[in-house]
């Protein structure tokens, strides 16, 4: 029974952890050099085999050597005199991370695919306060990890006993398919675009032609114009859908929500299991997103914006998403996070001038510019111009109308809810006592019509409501200021 480990002496990670570091190093190098690698593989026949395998094994040896050095120089221990946990690491750039034990809020033990294969775990330490440092030990045996966790938690005031109340698996794969088919088109399109352009660029650089452009062009030309355009569009759309689906499933496989005393734990992932501890106090903004298709299919995405550890900008890592839950499940999750169902309260709408302003900037102005350009240089015939202008007007008009129609603000005693968006309708929910700063804004030409805007800043992002009745806004601001001043709830 080796149950007692002297943590006051510097400890190393487990020896097999070198493999994890090796895998990390390998992954990084592959990520950096993959376009070259692909080209080499395609031109494999014409390569000098000796040079090729020689350089590959050289790189591998180098990575292995560095992994060993990383392992050797990484030590951690508990300084009992200063009550600090100390991590020392770095081969060339030495760094020393010290964390005061009483500041430790949570110790997480995670496992990625590589770590699972090697049989080691990752221990992450979450600290309180804005001066958050990244402290993690990436390869540690399970026994040592649990011992260390106990020791660290034992010192800190916050104890999290193992009493876990498990909610049933909220999300099944079926709803992923729905989400995969109905969201993130733009993101996936961008990903696809970047992927294709880098690949094509690398191919042209090495003058390899695996796709015969002429063949493709002549194949497409054998169909009427409309058909070939539709084929290309259909192909891209299909690719986007597949990329979407695969991404969603890989990322959110086996989604699980648990409530553990005051905090909520989310865990998910197909290859790399991720577990996130959410402290409801740290949550600043909840964002609910749903578009028309998703409404019909009864799927909702809930985003959680936490107080950012970096005061200057909200980090991506502090934004967490729960994709594809049904209406009923979303109510349950909201209740879990807010401990009550957000009430919508009094409705505030923007002035019709917002519609007029948006129509001017996004409809009339572009059309005027196009008219001027065509008048100057006659790019297309006037018949064609009318056709394009009509299509643009209808499209733009629909978007402007819906984004105006969906622009709403609801205020109740405990919640401020803002809704906006033309296709993807976002609903942002904040609690008034989480407001940090209030800004009201009025342009000089808005004075006569008594219009104005308000921006509420929280530690997790801003919410603004513009072109509305300024008297009402000022009244609300006074009310929110009163709430912030009298509330003794902790905003974080």
């Amino acid at each position: 029974m080796n149950n007692w480990v002297d943590f006051s002496k510097p400890q190393r990670q487990s020896l097999t952890g070198i493999l994890v570091m090796f895998a990390n190093g390998l992954q990084k190098s592959i990520r950096a050099f993959w376009p070259i690698l692909i080209v080499y593989l395609i031109k494999f026949e014409s390569l000098n085999k000796l040079l090729f395998f020689g350089s590959i094994s050289g790189v591998l040896l180098l990575i292995a050597f560095f992994s060993y050095l990383q392992y050797w120089f990484f030590t951690f221990h508990i300084d009992n005199d200063a009550n600090e946990f100390v991590i020392q690491k770095g081969v060339l750039n030495k760094s020393k991370i010290t964390i005061q034990l009483h500041k430790i809020q949570q110790v997480n033990i995670n496992q990625s695919l590589v770590q699972r294969l090697v049989g080691v775990y990752k221990l992450e330490i979450d600290t309180a306060g804005s001066d958050k440092k990244e402290a993690s030990i990436s390869a540690i045996s399970h026994q040592l990890a649990t011992l260390l966790k106990e020791r660290l938690i034992h010192y800190s005031e916050i104890n999290l006993p193992a009493k876990t109340e498990t909610q049933p698996n909220a999300i099944v794969t079926r709803s992923f398919i729905k989400i995969g088919f109905t969201s993130n088109y733009v993101k996936s399109l961008a990903l696809l675009f970047v992927f294709l352009t880098t690949t094509i660029e690398n191919f042209t650089q090495f003058q390899t032609k695996i796709i015969n452009e002429d063949k493709v062009t002549s194949y497409l030309e054998s169909f009427p114009m409309i058909t070939s355009v539709l084929m290309v569009v259909g192909f891209v759309f299909g690719m986007v859908l597949i990329v979407n689906l695969v991404r969603t499933i890989f990322k959110y496989f086996d989604f699980n929500i648990q409530k553990q005393q005051q905090s909520v734990i989310l865990s998910y992932g197909l290859l790399a299991t991720k577990s996130i501890l959410l402290n409801p106090n740290k949550i600043q903004i909840i964002k609910i997103t749903q578009n028309y298709f998703q409404k019909k299919l009864d799927v909702i995405t809930i985003g959680v914006h936490q107080a950012s550890s970096d005061a200057k900008r909200v980090k991506e890592k502090d934004k967490i998403e729960v994709p594809g839950c049904s209406q009923q499940e979303s109510f349950e999750i909201l209740k879990l996070l807010f401990s009550q169902m957000p009430k919508k309260g009094i409705l505030y709408l923007p002035n019709w001038r917002k519609l007029a302003l948006n129509s001017f900037f996004f409809l009339l102005f572009p059309i005027a510019v196009m008219l001027f350009l065509n008048y100057q240089s006659a790019l297309v015939t006037w018949n064609e111009w009318y056709r394009y202008a009509t299509i643009f007007s209808i499209f733009s008009g629909i978007i402007i109308w819906f984004s105006f129609k969906n622009y709403k603000l609801f205020v109740s005693d405990d919640f401020i809810i803002k809704q906006n968006g033309a296709w993807d309708v976002d609903t942002l929910i904040i609690e008034p006592f989480k407001i940090q700063t209030i800004k009201t804004q009025q342009f000089f030409w808005q004075k006569n019509t008594n219009m104005g805007s308000v921006t509420l800043a929280t530690a997790g992002g801003n919410i603004s409501f513009s072109t509305a009745n300024y008297t009402e806004i000022k009244q609300l601001v006074n009310y929110w200021l009163y709430q912030v001043a009298t509330s003794n709830k902790n905003w974080m």
Partner: protein, 195 residues
């Protein structure tokens, strides 16, 4: 907490921030504003003067006159803008929050409740130091866009405000010595100009 969620609040009886009398900034602050504006103008003037003496024939005499009059007009414009934007600026401290209003084209009022302030800083730029002025910045957790900076305060006044706010944030800690951070460059060249 329950006290106010149970009672219905008459929104009209709440103290109104918009009816507050705002304190004007110190009159010397116009000079700081002017200096910041003029520095940009001076750079441009310097450039054209150099051209005037080195390669006069780049522009004809007519154009030189035009450029000269444009500069004069621009200078007058800058002085008027500085004066107007100074008149628009104002601040107030209430029991629970700090208010700062500014902006010519878009009038912006920023309000920071004291119980959300993370820390307070006192800044003094080069010109401001010569004129005995300082600015106070209240930092919140809402990111840089939600911080509040009040420029053009007398140093003495600024120190008092800093102590007052520090005391409100942390009533137990004794009022510490005020450290003055000095910027040796003219302050907020960009921030002031777009107003």
């Amino acid at each position: 907490m329950n006290e106010f969620s149970n009672n219905t609040i008459d929104l009209d009886t709440l103290p109104k921030f918009e009816e507050l009398h705002l304190n004007a900034l110190h009159s010397n602050y116009v000079k700081v504003l002017l200096f910041n504006f003029l520095l940009l103008v001076l750079l441009a003037i310097g450039g054209f003067t150099a051209i005037f003496f080195i390669e006069r024939e780049v522009f004809s005499t007519k154009y030189w006159l035009l450029i000269f009059s444009a500069f004069v007009l621009f200078l007058v414009f800058v002085v008027i803008i500085a004066k107007l934007s100074f008149n628009k600026k104002g601040y107030a401290f209430r029991a629970h929050d700090a208010i700062y209003k500014s902006g010519l084209i878009s009038e912006t009022t920023t309000i920071v409740p004291f119980n959300r302030v993370q820390h307070v800083a006192l800044h003094q730029g080069f010109i401001a130091r010569k004129l005995g002025l300082a600015s106070i910045e209240l930092f919140t957790a809402g990111g840089s866009s939600s911080d509040l900076e009040i420029p053009g305060l007398l140093l003495e006044e600024a120190q008092k405000i800093k102590n007052m706010v520090s005391h409100k944030i942390n009533p137990i800690a004794k009022t510490e010595e005020v450290e003055v951070t000095e910027n040796y460059f003219p302050e907020n060249l960009t921030a002031e100009n777009n107003e």
